[in-house]
Symmetry: C2
Subunit: 206 residues, 2 copies
């Protein structure tokens, strides 16, 4: 039987309001094969946040050393705190044939693609701009100023969409989940993921 070499790296990006977090949660529940890559951060843990589940909490010094050692695939500073994705955790997971799921912004997505050209970049969008705005306003938790900032940021993020491999329109969460699962199943069948020696062995076993 011809087998794949490694697990997949699945990157999901979306402007806020596209429903990324709920969809990722649903995706992870479908199979124990999925591995959600936990980020490192210098932000102090909030109440209820668990080390190794929500984040790996590290000091700024430690984070800086990790940057210097090239341990992050991508990292960013947001509101004075550092956030980073560990390359080591990804490498271990794909070697163990797990499918790594990463929820990152468009900048992080393109950086992951540069380091892992075989990663699968999926861009999620709501069915229309009006719907995106509506979903953001319905959250109520945010001020008008914050909503405007998020919309401006969303606009910038959509400009990166053409660099992604797939576009999933999140009109209905169940349909969007089905599309995600189809993309992952299809990517498992991509010829480039099978070792060429195995195809050679296949015919030489005659």
């Amino acid at each position: 039987m011809i087998r794949r070499k490694k697990g997949l790296i699945i990157v999901i990006s979306a402007p806020s309001g596209a429903g990324k977090t709920s969809l990722c949660k649903r995706l992870l529940q479908t199979s124990p094969l999925f591995y959600y890559s936990v980020s490192f951060t210098t932000r102090p843990p909030r109440k209820n946040e668990i080390e190794g589940v929500d984040y790996y909490f590290v000091s700024r010094e430690e984070f800086q050393k990790m940057i210097e050692r090239g341990e992050f695939v991508e990292w960013a500073e947001v509101h004075g705190h550092m956030y980073g994705t560990s390359a080591k955790l990804i490498d271990e997971a794909i070697k163990a044939k797990k499918e790594v799921v990463l929820e990152v912004d468009v900048k992080g997505g393109t950086e992951i693609k540069r380091r892992y050209p075989d990663s699968v970049l999926i861009f999620l969008l709501p069915p229309s701009w009006e719907e995106l705005e509506k979903r953001l306003r319905n959250r109520m938790t945010e001020s008008d100023k914050e909503i405007k900032q998020r919309l401006a940021r969303a606009k910038k993020e959509v400009e990166y969409a053409p660099y992604y491999d797939y576009l999933v329109i999140n009109d209905d969460i169940n349909k969007a989940l089905e599309k995600l699962l189809a993309i992952i199943e299809a990517e498992r069948c991509r010829m480039k993921r099978f070792p060429t020696e195995e195809l050679k062995n296949f015919i030489s076993n005659e």
Copy 2:
């Protein structure tokens, strides 16, 4: 809502014994969106064969004219008869957003890819060479000499597999069908199939 431009062109190739014909039949039954591209041939119709269903039956002169007018994406002469795939039928079907399914050999597959770079090439294999041989022998209808010829031909065909986009191992027909459907669903979501203007419109509708 952002929409795809055209239907897909799905090319399925396999050595005989891989179960291609049964799988294609099952695939076509899943949705009226699929369009099975009927070939043209100079071979006289057999009893029960229907014009436009099994083949379009044409004279050798007509076939020759079609070649000269560049109407075939691919054609071949087998046992003194000509067989060809019409580009016009494919073009009409994808414009109508149908998903065209083509069952062709590896030579035909690579020719279709050259003319339609966005076509989806799927290679089907049985789980092992032993299984391929077993399936061919179980058909009983063929002599030992014919089986040897088919095995030799199969070996040549598998050498083309790396040029295909996907590899589906047909261990179980239901699982193989699920994989085919996942590949088709995923290909519908490929970013390159969405017009860039539509993405621009999406953000300019702000």
